[in-house]
Structure formats: C-alpha cells, structure tokens
Amino acid sequence: MFAFTIRRLLASIPVLFFSTLLVFLLVASSVDPLEPLRAKNPPVPRTTLIAEGHRLGLDHPLLQRYWDWLTGLILHGNWGTPVQPAYHIADRLGTSFLVTFRLVIFSIICSLALAIGVGVLSAVRQYSKIDYAATSVGFLFLSLPTFWFAALLKAWAIQFNGAVRPDGPPIISTFGAASPNPPAGFFAQFGDDFGHILLPTITLSLISYASWSRFQRASMLEVLNSDYIRLARAKGLSRRRVLFRHALRNALMPLTTQVALDTAALLGGVVITETVFEWHGMGYMFIQAVQGYDLFPLLAWLLVAALLVIVFNLIADLLYAVLDPRIRLA
C-alpha cells in the first residue's frame, strides 16, 4: 500500500511538470499584460511600454520566461510580478482558496449524500414511479445552465426577502460570502452564514448531484444483477444486509473515484457561481486576473488548479486501491 502510494506520487511529478509547461506556454502566449496599455487612447509612449515589459519580464523568449518563473517559484518562493505592485499573489491565493474551499466542501457533501440516497433508491425500485420521477428531475438538473439557474435563484430570493421581511436585512443573502456586520450570538451567526451559503451551494451542487445520482443508480443496478449478490441472497441473508453490506459496498467504489475526479472539474462551476453571487473566492480572483491581463496571478492560480487536479486524481487512485482488494494486492 505504501509502495503503491509512493509510486503514484512519483508518477505525478512529471505530469505536473509537463502540465505547468503546457499551461505556461498557452497562457503566456494568450495573455499580454501590456494589452490595456496598448489599447489606451491617447496612446501610451513606447518607453513606458518597454519599461513595463521589462518589469514584467516580457522581453525574454518564452521558454526562458518559463524557466525563470519555475525556478523563481520553487527556489525562492517568488510567485512573479503582478500588474499592480500592491497585489500580493500568495496572500490573495490563500484567502481566495479558503473562501472557495468552504463552499466546495459543503456543496460536495450535500450533493453526495443526496446522490447516493436517490441513486440507491432508484436502483432498488427500478422502473417505479419514484425511479421515473428521480430520473426526470435528474435530467432537468443536468440541462439547467448554471448561470441562468443562479441568476434565477438570486431573483427569487430578492423577491422572497422583499415579501417576508421588506425592511430588515435579507434572510437569504444574494451576494457576498458573509455579512459585513454579522449578528452576535452563535445561532444568529450560524443563521447568517447559512443564509449566505445556501444559494451558492444549491447552484454548485445541482449538476454534480444530477450526474452522480445517475452514476450511482447505474452502478447499483449493475451490482444488484451480479452473481455474488445472487449467492448472498441464496445464503439466506436479509435484504438489508445484502443491500448495505454486499451491494452498496461494491456499488460505491466507482462513485468515489468519479467524485474525486469531478471535484477538479467543479472549477468552471465555481467561476460562474462566484461571479453571480459575488463571492470573493478563487473564481472571482480568476476573472479579475483575466480582465486585468494579469499574467502572474493567473499563472499562480492555474498552478494551484493543476495541483488540485493532480491531487484529486491521486486521491481517486488511492481510494480505489483502499476499497478494492484486487487492486491493492495485485
């Protein structure tokens, strides 16, 4: 088990390296920090452009810039030069990550719990009304554009707030991760936090829930039709034991790896959700960096994203090895 982990870790390093190379080449050739200056009217003098280009290290060839950036980061902890000198990349990354992390974890827990429950129920009661209803709802959720649904929730919440408490603070907050003046007391604080996280969580969970519940249903169905489940029943075990001890244990295995892989893909959803609900997390940082043609914060952001993807892929592999003895002992 230990050797397996070490092997996978070591295998991830070249992947990370090539990933950063590809990302750097792609991004550095697409994003030009001097763009806003070039587009200014009246035009900015050439000397300013050259000076700015030099400050940001743009006057070197692409590969050298990559090397400089990589060595600067690994050896000196230097994240690069942002367009605005006051912008501290590492700090910004840290705070943004924490904000997003809170949202993502909460959302994953909610959608996972619901997806497993609904998926198992649908499989056990295949072709029943519950199954059809759950499947239809799942399809609907899969087809909803995240941004539209988020804006819809926002609009409804505003109307809801206006109807229930027209003169006070909103019950369901439509923007921001927290209130600027949070109420005192544990329950009040909790309620306020909950009011803020509710809508973004629903938005982010929607698509994950839909795809995971279908996945779980399919996985559960396959397991329920297997020979070893038939044998378990033939042994005279109770339905509950067969379902939870034998079937679910096997059916959850593919889902855990799927969840680990999908989590990295949530990034797109995070960008949209944070934009609509004005949370200042990773998504917000990303959009700001792109709009500001800010190369180095963008690179830092993408590095963290790539790291997350690789870490989650690794977790997926490890999880599978932990759960499936055939892989562990191979």
Partner: protein, 311 residues
C-alpha cells in the same frame, strides 16, 4: 439442409407451419431503431429538437424583423408586433432568440462533429497499437484533459480580440481543441478490449491491413458509444458556450447568443421585465434537455443488455 433420413417435406407446402425459425430476424439497424422508438422521452425530444432547429433556421425567413436594429418600442412586453417583447435597446427578442439559437446550435454541432471524429480516430489508433504509441498519445490527451474547459476557454478567447472578436468559428475551434480527449479516452478503452476479440484475429489471418481492421472491423463496433458521446457533447458544448457568452468571453455583440441574452436580462426579473430573462433561459433548457434525452435513448438503443420488461 443436408439430406438426412428425416421425414420432412423437401419443399414445404404453403400452408405448412414454420416450426424452427419462429422469431422474426432483424438487422442490427432495425433492432437499434426499434429500441430507440420505445424510449418515449427520446422520441418526443427528437420531435422537439427538430422543431427548434426548423424554427431557428427557417424562422427568420418568415419573421423578418431584424435582431440588431433598434426600434422605438423599449422594453415592451410580449404582444402582437413583438411576440417575445423587446429589450432596453428596443431589439426584438424573438429575432434575437432565433438568431442566438442558430449561433449556439451551429457552434455546438460543429464542435461535436469535429471533436468526436478526431477523438474517435485518435483513441482507436492509441488503443489498437498500444505500447509506447498508446502511452504517448494518451498522456498528451490526459494533459489536455486536465485543463478545465471553461477556464481555458476564457483565457484563450481573450487573445482573439480585435477583428476576430467573438467570431463563432474561433470559439468553436477552441472548444474542439479542449473537448476531443473525452471521446478519445472512451473509444480507446473500447478498442483495447475489442482488439482482443477473435474476429480481429480472424481478420488478420485473412490478411487484412491494420487500417482496414481499425476502420472496417473495430470502429463500427464502437459506433454506439460514439453516437452517444457526440450527442452529449452537443449538449455540453451548448452549456459551455452559453456560459462563456454570459461571462462576456464568448460571442460578443453585435452577434448574439442565448447566453448573451441571459446576461442582458439577468436583472430583468427585479426590474419588471421577466420575459427578457426567462425566455432565453427556457430555450437553452429545452435544447439541452431534449439532446440529453436523445442521448439517453441512443444509449439504451445500442446497449445489447437492455431488456426492458413490460409488466
């Protein structure tokens, strides 16, 4: 039949009861087609989608109000002259929606066609040859796969500012480049198991070339998966493209897309013009939902283990 001492008639009289072959034989195509027709949601969705396509592409021939010309009717609710109402610039929403649907569908279909074709061939080659060819090819595909689509689309489209800003084929190209590995992986894993089957050995023993084996024997057996992936890619692309346009990184004015229309109308409900928000969104949902059902119907139709029992 070889002649044995059986007492059966050599040429059965027309009235003889068929005793051996009592179940009608169907070709693969017929089987798939009939199974598809049993999936009611898929059939209904096919109709809906065809209608949408017809309306979107042929509609402007009949509804000639231009979509990007200001009129004097500002923010009018749905009525005779403007069945979907107008927005803050007086643009007619119906023409905007028609045009936006066109644009969205053009992008989605072209992305799906190209990325699926390329991905399928790529995956088939990787899976067939295995060894270092496969490792190299799939490592590269995995690398592309680790780039989150929305994120990178945002970064790359920004480069194309200026004359090519928002020109839809560049957007489509970017989505193709980011989307092909998905199909490649699925086809590759199927090819890996198919190439071990006896019919491949048999074809080889008959002297078939690699190319012939891949394209004439193996790939046709993956057609089911490819169709399903192609369909779902259309749906996925619609969602990604509209999201990009919503955020301002996709289709830009004067061209329009359903995502852009949603962005324009995102505060419309509070402002009192709900149609500006609901209508484009509902169109997106309709398109994606029907495509998803069609994909599901195709998946069921191609799945050989499907035994839907009528109680």
């Amino acid at each position: 039949m070889p002649d044995t001492t059986v007492t059966q008639q050599a040429s059965p009289a027309p009235a003889a009861v068929e005793r051996e072959f009592t179940v009608k034989v169907r070709t693969q195509r017929e089987i798939v087609f009939h199974r598809y027709l049993e999936h009611r949601a898929a059939v209904a969705s096919t109709v809906v989608l065809l209608l949408l396509i017809l309306v979107a592409f042929l509609g402007p021939l009949f509804w000639t109000t231009p979509y990007a010309t200001m009129t004097n009717d500002i923010q009018v609710s749905p009525s005779g002259a403007h069945p979907f109402g107008t927005d803050s610039n007086g643009y007619d929403l119906l023409s905007q929606v028609l045009h936006g649907t066109q644009r969205t569908l053009e992008i989605a279909v072209s992305v799906s066609l190209v990325s699926t074709t390329f991905g399928a061939v790529y995956g088939a080659i990787a899976g067939f040859y295995r060894g270092w060819v496969d490792t190299l090819m799939m490592r590269f595909a995995d690398l592309v796969l680790t780039l989150p689509a929305l994120v990178f689309a945002i970064i790359i489209t920004d480069k194309f500012s200026g004359n090519t800003a928002g020109k839809w084929y560049f957007l489509a190209l970017i989505l193709i480049v980011l989307g092909w590995p998905a199909c490649a992986r699925v086809v590759r894993s199927q090819v890996l198991s198919l190439r071990e089957k006896e019919f491949v050995e048999a074809a080889r023993a008959l002297g078939a070339s690699d190319r012939r084996i891949i394209f004439r024997h193996i790939l046709p057996n993956t057609i089911g998966s490819i169709f399903v992936i192609a369909t779902l890619t259309v749906a996925g692309t619609v969602l990604v493209e509209t999201a990009l346009s919503f955020l301002g990184f996709g289709i830009k004015p004067p061209d329009t897309s359903l995502g852009l229309l949603v962005e324009n109308g995102k505060t419309a409900i509070q402002d009192g013009y709900p149609w500006l928000f609901y209508i484009p969104g509902i169109f997106i949902v309709l398109i994606v939902l029907s495509i998803n059902f069609i994909g599901d119907g195709l998946r069921d139709a191609f799945d050989p283990q499907q035994t839907r029992v009528r109680a």
